[in-house]
Symmetry: C2
Subunit: 428 residues, 2 copies
């Protein structure tokens, strides 16, 4: 029992979450990042789902994908392909990817590729398309498609070239700096996106691209306060992958939702999903909207909270509380209560307003089960109709059930750990 | 007495501080911003001082100025010019300017020019030269001079051209956003500088300048976390000028120090300075340094606190506390105590961590005198030898004396106000 990985799975998991460095590797089309997709073989957010069951925005995003891949010449043709079941879909997470909202990734989807410093793990996530109609909300109009093509044909290769003229970009240091600049790096990324542009701009100016194109790239990033999101969540996916597969570990390594089911994965339980009907919570809705308009929680971006930022860093980002509903006292209550369900503290995501105390890190399914405290995520909620965009935002509590189920499964898998866990107060 | 300006000078002063908008107008050489300077006629920080009395960094900066103006071919020649008294100096404030640290402004000094939205007031402040040797600390080596020439010949005109391709840049909105991004905008401006670059970069790419020069400009700004300082303090100077000259007003409109004397100006008392020996406070010194190495407080940048940001916004910038010495509780104590000496609250500098309460705004000399609370500034302290740079930083309390003297002077000037002020609890 001298192997610390075996003797203390929780510690080993936290060490991986805290000690894995992740760099930005490429900005490219998804077909250059994975061989798990094809012209009619797409990735989607959340745990597995049947094509017939997908929510509206995901269906819209698949229509956009078929048009982007030129498999369909019109939305009607794309709908027919879907209705005939001629598209296959599988979770982003199974391809080491994460996608915000619908999370549909097709071969021509422009993505960010992250890689652990040792080169052992590669992850990717679609570029953020900005405000207005977006594939992630199920838009498939011409503006959305033209923007996707431009992102893939111009912005992505320009940024990729910029990387060749820049020092390696440490993506978790980018998130850490974002927390110092008032972002939670899940719902608020305006300062982090500015940092990212400032970091990449010098290299971009040396990239062998037309000056007019570079001007457009700079203007696009400068105008998109969520541009940094895929950079943050692809890095979060990489560290949670590094923290996965540790026998006996009760630490959550993924949270994701397909708009119907919300699921978690746990380090000691491999790729198994533990699910619950996707929650809606009590969001702040756009004026005129009702809860009937809302697609329940959807997307992979809560990998942020899984990796120790987002809502877990709420005290670092008080400026976002008015957006998701609440005040500074509520932010403090959120971060404090998440410490009760986490096994550790981040060594790099430090909160200035808490005298640089680390964020709560590593959701422990035993602790969730024992305390009954629901982990929370900073959530954006899509309109249930394709392409209608964000209809609300909120701090959404995730029901205890999947965490409790995973805790029980761990006990069944590693029966010798139960007594030890109880005896050492792990459940306390 | 129906004129509110006359009936409530304090209210009128606060309205000017809160209601004056300031835009970035130009980036150019100082000779294009004022006619109050010449080849041997420079501006300096703080209240008036005799050439024979200036501290080391200011003397070094004047040497740099004489070399920059090509009045001297060597440092020795420049020293001789100074020793013969053949340079005349006057306060930046008298030319509607503010300069950080030594604050020496010569005709070829590159400056930021700010202007009130009505065009009525123009102010300026030297561009920040970045880390390493800098004129504001008294450096006059070739690296410093070459950088100053490049800033004036390339960066300044490039940014000025960028302004022609950009929307008007609201400098106080830039500061307000900085406070949302964890800056106090006096000692910490790293997020604000990034915001500034993101704002100007698209216009910069359209400016008629060589691409290589633009790349250098972008790289310089990207690498300089204090680049935004002159943008912030020139705007602060503009609003405090707008708030000046209101008969009977006890609100401070300038705080500045020449390294020997710290002085304040008050709205109702015109251009008169009320001074006290420049304080040093209890700074965090660089390793190996002692208080004997420190030039006492020097510079005009405490116009930040005068205008409602800097140390007065400490709770917005907890990340800076470790730099200036202290923790979050100390930050809260500072902002809270400054509310006791201020007559009002900012309507635009809102602190997320205080549920968007405005910063304390408008130091009231009567309140300082009555409470005995010393106003504080976020301070950078220069080595007493020219060109040695920053030797320490701290939150420096300013002695009550000049505020009390101004309070008494106001009573003598407007005797009919004394009873009213007491009766209305202004001194409480």
């Amino acid at each position: 029992m001298s192997d610390p990985t075996r003797s203390d799975p929780t510690r080993a998991t936290l060490d991986a979450l805290n000690g894995t460095d992740v760099h930005l590797r490429h900005v490219c089309k998804a077909r250059d990042a994975t061989d798990r997709i094809g012209p009619r073989r797409f990735l989607h957010a959340g745990p597995p789902i049947e094509l017939a069951d997908i929510p509206g925005p995901m269906r819209g995003a698949i229509i956009a994908g078929l048009l982007l891949e030129r498999e369909a010449g019109s939305a009607a043709e794309a709908e027919a392909i879907i209705d005939r079941g001629e598209v296959s879909i599988s979770p982003c997470h199974d391809a080491n990817a994460v996608g915000a909202m619908a999370g549909i990734i097709t071969p021509n989807t422009p993505v960010v590729v992250a890689e652990t410093a040792d080169g052992g793990i590669r992850t990717f996530s679609p570029l953020n398309e900005g405000v207005g109609g977006a594939m992630r909300y199920g838009s498939y109009d011409e503006v959305t498609l033209a923007r996707l093509r431009w992102l893939g044909d111009v912005l992505a290769p320009a940024l990729d070239a910029a990387l060749q003229h820049s020092d390696p970009l440490d993506l978790l240091a980018l998130v850490a700096e974002g927390l110092r600049r008032g972002d939670d790096c899940h719902n608020r990324l305006v300062a982090t996106s500015a940092t990212l542009l400032v970091t990449l701009a010098p290299g971009l100016l040396h990239a062998p691209f037309d000056r007019g194109d570079i001007a457009k790239v700079v203007s696009f990033i400068a105008g998109n306060g969520h541009f940094a999101l895929p950079f943050a969540i692809s890095a979060a996916k990489a560290v949670t992958l590094a923290a996965g597969g540790i026998p006996g570990s009760p630490i959550v390594t993924a949270m994701a939702s397909n708009g119907r089911e919300f699921g978690i994965r746990v380090s000691g339980l491999g790729d198994r999903w533990f699910t619950v009907p996707a929650p809606i919570g009590d969001p702040v809705l756009l004026e005129g909207a009702t809860l009937d308009d809302v697609t329940p929680t959807m997307g992979d971006s809560m990998i942020s909270e899984t990796a120790g930022f987002g809502a877990f860093a709420m005290t670092a980002a008080p400026a976002i509380m008015s957006f998701v509903g609440g005040d500074m006292a509520r932010a403090q209550e959120i971060t404090r209560s998440m410490r009760d369900v986490c096994a550790g503290t981040s060594g790099r995501f430090l909160i200035p307003a808490e005298d640089f105390r680390g964020t709560p890190l590593g959701i422990d399914v035993h602790r969730v089960r024992a305390t009954g405290i629901e982990p929370v995520i900073n959530n954006g909620l899509a309109h249930r109709e394709p392409g209608r965009g964000r209809v609300g935002a909120g701090i959404t509590p995730i029901p205890v059930e999947p965490f409790a189920a995973a805790s029980r499964a761990l006990e069944e898998t590693v029966p010798e750990r139960v007594g030890a866990a109880d005896g050492q107060g792990r459940h306390a």
